[in-house]
């Protein structure tokens, strides 16, 4: 079920009440049951796939602790490969078949398309990576194997972060299922506030901007440069608010139950470089790739050529993780290219800035760096969002052509939507700045209870009145 649905609004308080009312020994089973119900609200049969991957890695974890030597490596490889095969079948088989058929077509061969369309189980990429991190950590000796199947299954299936992360490490999450969690008013209210902020991002910002983005990117040739540029800018905020909004709701939900999930976003669009952007965007995924792919390949402690290769491979695979389409691969490689170029030109850029008096802590230099990083990110988002590479090339090459301020609207996004969309983005930025500078928390602390409740109620009403309530999924669900 979706976080922004009436079903979840009913499910969460019931699950929470049952959790806190249950005796401690029953709580993990209750969470597992709730997580199964949550997952089965999508496509019930696919829970069997989830249990297959859970069982594989649970058993692997147990045996990795018991056996020694070469067999441990073999078991690790078997576990990783079998988990990845499940992911590969459901996510990449059709893509692979289509790519082979296209390649064959280039050489004049017509291959029969015999594969049926396979529906990707929701959240497969996320819980697969979470399982893999468990197995690797057990192998490395940094995590004891979980002997209780119910606890391990709940670690993989914990409903707040089941379908779109954050991708948790076992060291952070697994032990929390053995701790006693009591109802704490402050944690619950803090969690509720986090959920409200996540819903604002999703419903008021992301889903409203999606109206425009979907129209323009659905048929980019029908729109002028201004519309293409606006859609690109809107998509940057849409994907940020959609995904970070989901993470906020996931973190808030877990907080209500007394669990701590990792932060997944740290205002990434304020980054001074693409490298910093990737330390602030989808932190759980980028750290996963760093720890389990980039560093094992040698990271940066290798000759320059190998370092560049490591970066490109990591980002290429990261792109592929996002979806079975060449646009995602190109997007990943483009980000890798940004990082490489940024790393290679760092000294040159420092000298260039210094030559015009823009030292590292000057506001102007920071503004230029933030702006240029945002621009580069937006250009990459074009490839990410476009339905194919041809569309991506078209958008990039027509961003500045045919601007017509008389033609801004689209079929679904009439002009009356524009002030609401822009206002929502401004409210988002102001809210983030206030929170980052602790202006908002300290201001709220000075207001009495009636005043705070009035503000919170007004915020809820704002989300309700300005939110877009349609059956829309979160973008990252498709990954």
């Amino acid at each position: 079920m979706l976080f922004n649905s009436i079903e979840f609004a009913i499910f969460l308080p019931i699950a929470t009440a049952l959790f806190f009312l249950s005796p401690q020994p029953w709580r993990v089973r209750l969470l597992l049951t709730a997580s199964c119900i949550f997952y089965m609200a999508f496509i019930p049969a696919y829970i069997s796939i989830l249990f297959v991957t859970i069982t594989i890695d649970y058993v692997a974890g147990l045996y990795l602790e018991r056996i020694e030597g070469h067999r441990r490596v073999v078991l690790l490889v078997v576990s990783i490969v079998s988990t990845c095969v499940v992911l590969g079948i459901f996510k990449y088989l059709n893509f692979l078949a289509d790519s082979i058929a296209s390649l064959a077509g280039v050489f004049g061969y017509q291959l029969p398309h015999t594969l049926a369309h396979i529906i990707l189980p929701i959240g497969l990429s996320f819980h697969t990576f979470q399982s893999l991190s468990y197995v690797v950590e057990v192998y490395r000796g940094r995590q004891k194997a979980e002997h209780n199947f119910v606890v391990y299954a709940t670690y993989v299936m914990f409903f707040p972060q089941l379908v779109a992360g954050p991708i948790e490490r076992p060291q952070n999450l697994l032990h929390q299922f053995r701790e006693r969690h009591t109802f704490e008013y402050e944690k619950v209210t803090s969690g509720l506030k986090r959920i409200a902020w996540g819903l604002f991002k999703k419903l008021v910002v992301a889903d409203r901007l999606a109206l425009y983005v979907n129209d323009v990117y659905g048929s980019p040739h029908a729109y002028n440069g201004l519309q293409l540029s606006l859609a690109t800018l809107f998509f940057a905020y849409q994907i940020y608010c959609d995904f970070s909004g989901y993470s906020d709701i996931a973190i808030g939900t877990a907080q209500i139950l007394g669990f701590r999930l990792m932060e997944n976003f740290r205002t990434p669009y304020y980054s001074l470089s693409v490298s910093e952007f990737w330390r602030r965007w989808h932190i759980s995924l980028s750290t996963w790739f760093k720890d389990y792919l980039y560093l094992p390949m040698g990271g940066s402690r290798v000759p320059t050529g190998r370092h560049i290769l490591n970066l490109m491979v990591t980002f290429g695979v990261s792109g592929l993780w996002h979806g079975a389409n060449w646009t995602y691969v190109v997007w990943g490689l483009l980000n890798g290219t940004y990082l490489v170029a940024g790393w290679l030109t760092r000294d040159w850029r420092d000298r260039l800035f210094a030559s015009v008096g823009l030292y590292p802590h000057t506001v102007v230099r920071k503004a230029i760096m933030v702006g240029s990083t945002f621009l580069l990110t937006c250009l990459a988002w074009i490839v990410f969002r476009a339905e194919n590479l041809n569309d991506a090339v078209y958008v990039v090459t027509h961003l500045l052509s045919g601007w017509n301020f008389q033609e801004i609207k689209t079929p679904q996004f009439l002009l009356r939507q524009l002030p609401v969309a822009v206002g929502a983005i401004i409210a988002l930025e102001v809210g983030q700045l206030w929170w980052a500078r602790a202006t908002l928390p300290s201001a709220l602390a000075r207001v009495g209870l009636p005043g705070r409740w009035a503000l919170y109620a007004a915020f809820v009403m704002l989300v309700v009145m300005f939110g877009v309530f349609r059956k829309t999924q979160f973008i990252y669900f498709q990954f």
Binding site: F183, Y185, V188, L192, A222, Y456, M461, V464, M465, F469
Partner: protein
Amino acid sequence: MGVSSPDSTAPFLAGELDATAEGEDASREGLRTVEGVMRIACFFGMTAVLALVASVIITTGLRHVKTGQFGVSNRIMEGAVNADIVITGSSRAVSHYDSRLIQAATGHRTFNLGRNGSQTDMQIAVLKAYLRHNRKPTILMHNLDAFAFVATREVYNPVQYVPYLYDEELYQALRRINPSIWKSRYLPLYGYVVDEMSFAWLTGLGGFFGWSPRETFFEGYNPRPGTWTQDFQQFKAANPGGVAWPVESEAVALVEGLINVCQQNGIRLIFVYSPEYKLMQQLTKNRADIFGRFYNLAERRHVPFWDYSEWRYAANTDYFTNSQHLNSRGAEVFSADVAKRVIEYLATRSGGDRRIDTPSEFDFWQY
């Protein structure tokens, strides 16, 4: 919700405690939990009341709006129309029949009950609501569409009906199409925010304080001032082989149902197929079948049928915004034509049985 909570010392962390102290701690913790839950419940209860009050304000406001689609609906539901000639149909009715022009030409009060995005079932529901609150008209001109025999799958722009869901027949008609409409009736604000992109709630707030938006509906007529758009080109590109509109038995029965409503109420019904862009007519693969059904039905039920398929401007995009809708210029010309036919019909009381495909003097009149 930001007040720091009391200590939440769990008994098992407190080291060696005697049973009484443990029991007291657990009891205090239980009370704090209850207090916390009550506070949260109070907050959500307060927010629910706020939503209910907002919903009442918006609904009241929308029922006081004097202009636009809500203005039209309010006049209908308040019994302030009482027209002699009413027009029903879909968006083609709304934008083709200039009620003011027809009224001026015929001398009979005229009102357009057309609804954008509606099919026959909603059109009947709106007509019945009209008849419950207003004097029955002498003539009802029902605009037919090529897709008149397609059953409704969803309610278009449901917010336009939300302030009037207290009307049981209207509500039941909507429920037959969309069983979830009960949420709009019983859940505060639901109908004003879910699947609603027009910010109708802002209009409601304004209406509550006596404000109404700029008028765009004139005796129910909503003109389309624009020029020819790319809609038809895009449609042709997406459907190069044309389109065949389904003929569904339940929709056929609804058209018969409309005839029954009129005949039971002693209203003279006239079917009108208002102008449609010529090239679109050629792209409708089963047009002959559909129109055969129109003619058979009209003949069998003794309903005049004015078919404007051969309207002299049907091939001229200067009179259309897209293949289905006339622009205001086209509507003006068409409405004048219809007005003249109504005058003749009223004079002869049988002259409307002629079909326009057998040339009549109307074809040669200059407007």
